[in-house]
C-alpha cells in the first residue's frame, strides 16, 4: 500500500525539454515565474501563457498530467480568485450589501488565477522532465557561489541525495512495521482522526529507532569509502551547457523582452 507512492514526479523521456540541462531549466523557470508576475496587461499575459503552454506541449507529456498538478491547489485558486473579485476599484458591475464587483476586481481575479495556474504548471515542467539526481546536482552547482557566505552547499546536496535514496527504503520499512503491529492486533483503520493518529505512534517509534540505526550504519559505510565532505571531491558525471541550452535561453529571453515591450506599449489593466 505505502509502496505505491511514486517518488518525485519524474517522467523519463527524450523530448527537447528533457534533454536540456537541469541548471538551464531551473534558471529559466525562475525567470519565467518572475515574468508571469510582471505581466500588466492582457497582451503580455497572453504572450507568456502561450509560451508556457508551448513549453508544456514540447515536453510530450500528456496535458492531463499537468491539469492533475493543478488539482492540489484548486482550492487556493478559487479562494484567491474570489477575494480578488471583490477587492478592486473602477466601474461597479454588481453590488449587493457589502459586496461589490468592479471591473478592476474582475481583472484582478482573472490575472491571479492565470498566474497561479501557470506557476504550478511550469514548475511541473521542471519536476516532470528532470531526474531527482540531476536536480540535486544542478542545485549544488547553482548554489556553489553561496559557499562564500559559509553556506554548506555540498552538505545540503548530500543530504538531499541521501534523503531521496532512503525514502523508498523507509516507506518499505513503515509498511513492514505496520503489518507487524497489525499482526499483534493493532487497529489502524477504524475510529476518528484522533484515534487513528494515536494508532500511528507504535509505528513511528520503531521507525525512528531504526532510522537512527540506519544512519549510523550509513555514516560508517561512508567513512569506509573515504568520505570527507566536499573537499577535494571529484565528480563522475559533469554536465556542460550545450547548444540547445543556448537556444532555450535565447528564445526565453526574447519572450521575456516581448513581455516588457508589451507592458510598455499597452496600457496596464491592473
Amino acid at each position: 500500500m505505502v509502496r505505491d507512492i511514486t517518488l518525485g514526479q519524474f517522467m523519463p523521456g527524450t523530448s527537447v525539454i528533457h534533454r536540456l540541462q537541469a541548471r538551464t531549466k531551473i534558471i529559466l523557470l525562475i525567470a519565467l515565474i518572475v515574468f508571469i508576475f510582471l505581466c500588466k496587461n492582457f497582451i503580455s499575459l497572453l504572450l507568456i501563457t502561450l509560451f508556457s503552454l508551448l513549453t508544456i506541449l514540447m515536453t510530450r507529456i500528456s496535458f492531463f498530467k499537468y491539469l492533475k498538478s493543478l488539482r492540489v491547489i484548486l482550492f487556493i485558486i478559487i479562494i484567491t480568485g474570489l477575494f480578488n473579485l471583490f477587492y478592486g476599484s473602477g466601474v461597479i458591475l454588481w453590488q449587493w450589501w457589502q459586496l461589490t464587483i468592479t471591473l478592476g476586481g474582475v481583472y484582478n481575479a482573472l490575472f491571479v488565477i492565470v498566474r497561479i495556474a501557470l506557476l504550478m504548471m511550469v514548475s511541473a515542467v521542471l519536476t516532470y522532465t528532470t531526474s531527482p539526481t540531476d536536480l540535486t546536482d544542478a542545485l549544488e552547482r547553482l548554489m556553489k557561489p553561496l559557499t562564500v557566505f559559509h553556506v554548506k552547499v555540498h552538505e545540503i546536496a548530500m543530504m538531499m541525495t541521501i534523503a531521496l535514496r532512503f525514502i523508498p527504503v523507509l516507506l518499505e520499512e513503515t509498511d513492514k512495521i505496520m503489518n507487524a503491529q497489525k499482526a499483534r492486533g493493532a487497529d489502524m483503520e477504524s475510529g476518528g482522526i484522533i484515534k487513528r493518529v494515536k494508532a500511528l505512534i507504535p509505528v513511528l517509534i520503531p521507525l525512528f529507532v531504526s532510522s537512527f540505526r540506519r544512519a549510523s550504519d550509513l555514516a560508517m559505510a561512508m567513512e569506509c569509502r573515504c568520505y570527507n565532505g566536499g573537499k577535494g571531491r571529484t565528480k563522475m558525471k559533469v554536465s556542460h551547457f550545450k547548444l540547445n541550452d543556448l537556444f532555450a535561453a535565447i528564445i526565453s529571453v526574447t519572450v521575456f523582452a516581448g513581455v516588457i515591450v508589451c507592458n510598455i506599449l499597452f496600457p496596464a489593466v491592473i
Binding site: P132, T133, T161, I162, L164, R165, P168, V169, E172, R214, D217, L218, M220, A221, M222, E223, C224, R225, C226, Y227, N228, G232, R233, T234, K235, M236, K237, V238
Partner: protein, 282 residues
Amino acid sequence: MKDFIKIENLYFQYESSEENENRSYALSGVDLTINKGEFVAIVGHNGCGKSTLAKHLNSIYLPTTGDVTVNGINTKDDDRIFEIRKTVGLVLQNPDNQIVAGIVEEDVAFGCENIGVEQKEIRKRVDNALKAVDMYDYRLHSPDKLSGGQKQRIAIAGIIAMEPECIVLDEPTAMLDPQGRDEVMNTILRLNKEMGITIILITHFMEEAVLAGRVIVMDSGKVLLDGTPKKVFSQVELMKKHRLSVPQATELIYRLRNCGYELPDCVLDEEECVQALEKLLK
C-alpha cells in the same frame, strides 16, 4: 609482500557509560599477521569480537592498547587514515544501509569521487568494478529495485572501484537468501583468484569458511585456532567445546568415525563426504 596487515597484542574496550566499571574487553590480546593475496575467513559465534576486529583493520575503531599496521602504516596515524581506507575496504552486513546514491553507477562512483580520482578514470573504474561483480547491466537502475544479493554486490563494487589491496567483509551474507549468498561468495572468490585482492571474510557460516585458504576461529576476544580449513575443522572436539559448529559434512563423517567406521580424518564439503562414503559402502 609479507606482513601486509599486522595486528600486535590488540586489546579493545568499547567506550560505555561509567556504570559498568569492570566491563570486559571486546578484544583481549589478538596477534595476527595477514599476507597479501590471502583469503582468510574469521569465524566465531556472536559477540566473540570478530566484527570489532574487522573494524580495526581500516581504522574505524582504534586499539585501546596494541597496534594494527596496514602496509606499514599504523591505524592510529590520523594523517594517513585515508591511505589506510583506500588500501583496506570494508563491506558491511546490511546492503541497504551502505548504498548512498539513488543510481547504481553513481553509488559505485561515490568512493572514487571522495578520493578525488579524475573524471575519465572514475568512469573506467566504475565500469570495471561493475563488470567484476557482474552487475554492469544494472548500472542505470535504482538500488531499491534490486535483490539483496545484487545490492551487496553493488556495495562490493563500490569498494573495488577504489582499487583496494584488501577487502574486509563483515558478515556480507547474513541478511541474504541462499541464492544471494552464492552470488556474493562466487564474487568474493573471483576477486581473490583473478584480481589477487586479499580477502578477509567475517562469517558465521562454516560452509563459507571452508572456501577460504585460512580459517581463524575467535572466541571471547581471542584467537582460538588459526590454520587451513582442514586443520581447523579436524578439531571437532575443541570447536564443540566452544559452542561452534563445523560444516555438516565434517560433522557427519566425525560422528560416523566415532561409531567405528573407517573414514578419512577430516572432510570439508559434500563432494568429499560423498566420495568417502562411497568408498566405505563399496
